[in-house]
């Protein structure tokens, strides 16, 4: 009997089987899952936001009679970019953003590079102490420095109450010193110089010392070596630091909010916030898009610079081993300058913050006015802050603090787990288009300044979408946005951790018959987790001090400490603002202390 089978059918089955096997591989499933998730959480909201800006919104009737809710229109774009209010809405804030960001970046880089050189290349005393102190301002929320500035330089005319300087000297502080671009630039510099310092000292330390030593052997002086060898080789790192700092300074919200709004000095982020607060969502979204575009351009330029380093193989195995430049006679004067700078830039702001939180009457900085009222009073005395209770007594504050901690812990844990899973999906599929797609999508949130990201999520979750309920106003959306914001970092950390493991170590388990879940649980997870620990605790700290990401999304029920501080500042409750900020500082320091104890890692290493 002849059995004949149609040939095409026989050929199809192995192919179909292969496809089936491919689709059930764990890292493929994960990859697809992530792509869908990230599309929903990043790309789709972005599209939604663009769509909103191109359609009529509820409430637009007051601007135009053509307004039909939901219909396509270029009205909003025209309003923002080509109308009478363009100057106030876009041009001014854009110019202000650039001015402050450029000024702050230039200053921060100047200070940071000098400090980096002093610490890693000279024999300045107390180098280790300086290194650990320098990074403190970067641990604090950036706007804390702005608050401290106001405390010192506030003038009565605008602020209503005297600042410390006016109190001590009796002279009226001019407006341009108390608020506006100059204070913004200086306070931003005081925050970002630490960032520049970390980037540059890292580059300096990894420079192969034999490059400078060989020049030394030819008889070149220290100065010549610095000019002709060290600086040219540091150029890419320098430019990169400039661009990264600039891009962050551009998108910052807190500092321009505190120091700019009292004198109606707007930057793009604060203008965005204003629009959204007034219900002008479309206008706000357009500004958010503008911020995203600028940010994307700067990051792209940065990638190009790092990419075209002309193959600078300056990172040798042994790094910098050379002997430091002697400062000789300049040693102690320079040390004094550095210590003064640290005192003014680090200790003074924090100290002043704590001090004003224990002042009873505003404007009275004398020691007789000190009181723990704002920390522990039982409430009811309407003379002070409309009768609010002391910080540590107020159940609302404590609930807010709990929200902050809950948010940070949840974010940290979820981010860590997702990080490893993402890392696994990317590493196992290394080289495939799928893996590259996942990696690039995980990188997208990096392009969006936090305030713009918050705007995206307002548009996204205001209404329910299919099975997903409207998340606006819930705690869930805060966790969601925090996790997504950290995706670029957690995926990178995850990739690094998993790379060390998912190779022969996993294959050895596969060969003896372990299924994926067991391999992941028993081999990959334990071995990758140590690398993720430092990143996890760092996530905790950054979430604790997050303001611009959450300010547009919180409601009274879901407030966190940082947004609460902002509210108090808006209402001019000075001491409560400071007390709350001081409270956050304490929590952040406690968190960092725990990091150093458990893991003995430095924020500097993890930040890079």
């Amino acid at each position: 009997m002849e059995i004949s089978m149609p040939v095409p059918l026989m050929r199809a089955r192995p192919a179909a089987r292969r496809l089936g096997r491919y689709l059930t591989m764990p890292h493929i499933i994960l990859a697809f899952l992530f792509i869908v998730l990230m599309f929903y959480l990043i790309v789709f909201p972005l599209g939604r936001m663009i769509w909103t800006s191109l359609t009529w919104q509820l409430g637009d009737e007051r601007f135009s009679r053509d307004a039909q809710e939901g219909a396509f229109t270029l009205f909003h774009w025209q309003r923002v970019f080509a109308s009478r209010i363009t100057k106030a809405m876009v041009i001014s804030p854009l110019r202000n953003s650039f001015v402050t960001a450029l000024g702050a970046t230039a200053l921060a880089l100047g200070v940071g590079s000098i400090l980096a050189w002093l610490v890693s290349r000279t024999d300045l005393p107390l180098r280790r102490f300086i290194t650990s102190v320098v990074t403190i301002p970067y641990m604090l929320p950036s706007w804390v420095l702005a608050l401290s500035w106001i405390i010192i330089f506030k003038n009565q005319r605008i602020g209503g109450v005297r600042g410390l300087l006016e109190y001590l000297t009796g002279l009226q502080v001019p407006d341009w010193l108390a608020y506006g671009p100059l204070p913004i630039i200086i306070t931003l510099c005081l925050h970002y110089y630490a960032f520049a310092f970390l980037l540059l000292s890292g580059a300096l330390v990894s420079l192969d010392s034999s490059l400078e030593e060989s020049a030394e052997l030819f008889g070149a002086s220290r100065w010549r070596i610095l000019r002709k060898i060290t600086l040219p080789l540091m150029m890419p790192a320098f430019l990169s630091a400039f661009i990264l700092t600039f891009s962050r300074a551009l998108g910052t919200f807190g500092t321009p909010a505190f120091l700019g709004r009292p004198v109606r000095y707007f930057t793009l982020p604060t203008m965005l916030y204003s629009n959204v607060r007034q219900g002008l969502f479309a206008d706000g979204f357009i500004l958010a898009l503008l911020l995203i575009v600028i940010s994307t351009i700067t990051i792209y330029v940065n990638q190009r610079i790092i990419g075209t380093r002309k193959g600078f193989h300056t990172i040798a195995g042994k790094g910098f081993r050379g002997h430091p430049t002697p400062l000789r006679g300049w040693k102690y004067p320079i040390l004094a300058l550095v210590l003064i700078f640290l005192a003014l830039g680090v200790f003074l702001p924090v100290g002043v913050l704590f001090y004003r939180s224990v002042m009873l009457y505003e404007g009275d900085y004398s020691l007789s006015n000190l009181s723990l009222h704002y920390w522990i009073n039982p409430g009811g005395d309407v003379r002070f802050a409309e009768g609010s209770m002391g910080l540590l007594r107020d159940p609302m504050i404590l609930k807010t603090a709990w929200n902050s901690i809950r948010l940070s812990v949840l974010t940290a844990i979820i981010t860590a787990v997702i990080g490893i899973l993402l890392g696994y999906a990317i590493v196992k599929g290394r080289g495939t288009r799928l893996s590259r797609l996942v990696e690039q999508m995980a990188f997208l949130p990096y392009l969006m300044p936090s305030i713009a990201f918050g705007a995206i999520y307002i548009s996204m979750f205001a209404k329910p979408l299919g099975p997903i309920p409207a998340l606006y106003g819930t705690f869930t959306i805060l966790v969601l946005i925090s996790v997504v914001k950290h995706l670029p970092y957690s995926s990178r950390a995850g990739v690094a951790s998993v790379m060390q493991v998912a190779g022969e170590l996993e294959e050895a388990a596969t060969v003896v018959g372990a299924k994926w879940a067991r391999r992941f649980r028993r081999i990959i997870l334990p071995l990758s987790s140590s690398g993720l620990m430092a990143g996890t605790l760092l996530t905790f700290i950054t979430t604790m001090r997050e303001l611009s990401l959450l300010i547009l999304l919180v409601t009274p029920a879901t407030r966190v400490l940082t947004t609460m501080t902002f509210r108090y500042a808006e209402q001019d409750f000075e001491q409560l603002t400071d007390a709350l900020a001081a409270f956050i500082v304490i929590l952040v320091f406690a968190g960092n202390f725990i990091i150093n104890r458990i893991r003995r890692t430095e924020i500097g290493a993890a930040l890079r």
Partner: protein
């Protein structure tokens, strides 16, 4: 031509003693190799000579000038010592062309432009790198980068050449080629050269003098032949030579008035009577004669492993607990595992070492 002298030089890094009371006399025009395993202090010693490290004690003299003296608190900066150094990583400045790399040192000597370009071209030609002036280091292969590094040192015409494992990043083939190039250069220029390496073959082939270091201590200085034929202690004996030397414990006995070395399972006669009785005998693999037939005075062994390698044959033979390595260069030998063979030793070529102190026993 200028010589270099080190007197009682010591250098510590915290608890670790990198160089321990090193005294060395490097003759003008010689090619001296500092040889030893990793961590023996050879690179530190070189860097002390260069002035990139400051020793804790001692004196260093280059030619007539004392460039370092701990007793007098003297330290001459590296740039004034008139030395050239080729680093292991080549240290070519990546942002400069080959020409600029080589010209850098010459500009510092305030030479006129024509002289500079002349020297650059000359040194590139000497290293067979003509026409590469406008290339950047990353556009060159490893071997080419290495030549540029040497050219850079040559062009500056220093009194003394220092080289820190310059060939270790090259593949085996290139390494052997570069060895002969460097040796030719030394012959041509005649400058005193101090060379650091952990490769004993490199040291043997290139040097006029070898200084063997171990954990900061100088174990032996001598010509390659002296080091090979008369290693001063067991460490040097074991370190030099490929394949490794055979080291066997033995007891010295006399039989009928004639000295014999008793290895336990067999014994051989020996021409001299050492004062120490517990010794270690050092036998080079090529000094053992292998025969397939029994012969008078020969000792029977059994083949343990056979490693044919083209021009030579490495055989391991065993007798009780004794395992010996033999290098056989005759073509006709055809042996298999577990086959019995007969060995004949050449007592004149066997060195004896005091088992306790590990030092060579000088016998006459």
């Amino acid at each position: 031509m200028i010589g270099v002298t080190l007197r009682h030089v010591s250098k510590r890094f915290g608890e670790v003693v990198a160089v321990d009371d090193l005294s060395l006399d490097i003759e003008p025009g010689s090619f001296l190799t500092l040889l030893g395993p990793s961590g023996c202090g050879k690179t530190t010693a070189l860097r002390c000579i260069a002035g990139l490290e400051e020793p804790d004690e001692g004196e260093i003299q280059i030619g007539e000038r004392v460039v370092f003296s701990s007793a007098e608190g003297l330290f001459m900066p590296p740039g004034q010592r008139g030395l050239g150094l080729v680093f292991q990583s080549y240290a070519l400045w990546p942002h400069m062309t080959v020409f600029q790399n080589i010209a850098f040192g010459l500009e510092l000597q305030k030479l006129p432009k024509t002289e500079i370009s002349g020297r650059v071209e000359q040194s590139l030609a000497d290293l067979k790198m003509d026409g590469m002036e406008e290339r950047y280091p990353h556009e060159l292969s490893g071997g080419q980068q290495q030549r540029v590094a040497v050219a850079r040192m040559l062009a500056a015409r220093p009194d003394v050449f220092l080289m820190d494992e310059p060939l270790s990043n090259l593949d085996a083939r290139l390494r052997t080629d570069m060895r002969s190039e460097l040796k030719r250069l030394h012959h041509m220029v005649g400058a005193t050269t101090i060379y650091v390496t952990h490769d004993q073959l490199e040291a043997l082939t290139m040097s006029t003098q070898i200084a063997v270091l171990c954990q900061g201590n100088l174990f032996q200085v001598g010509t390659p032949d002296e080091i090979y034929r008369q290693p001063a202690n067991l460490f040097v004996a074991d370190f030099i030579g490929s394949p490794k030397i055979n080291l066997l414990e033995a007891t010295v006995r006399t039989e009928d008035g004639q000295p014999r070395l008793d290895f336990g399972s067999f014994s051989i006669s020996y021409p001299a009577l050492p004062v120490i009785q517990e010794v270690v005998a050092a036998i080079r693999p090529e000094d053992i004669a292998l025969s397939l037939q029994p012969a008078p005075g020969a000792v029977e062994f059994v083949i343990y492993s056979v490693l044919p390698a083209g021009s030579e044959l490495i055989v391991q033979v065993q007798r009780d607990e004794v395992l010996l390595t033999i290098k056989e260069t005759r073509r006709q030998i055809n042996v298999g595992i577990d086959q019995p063979v007969w060995l004949q030793f050449d007592p004149d070529s066997i060195n004896l070492y005091d088992k306790r102190t590990e030092q060579l026993l000088k016998l006459e």
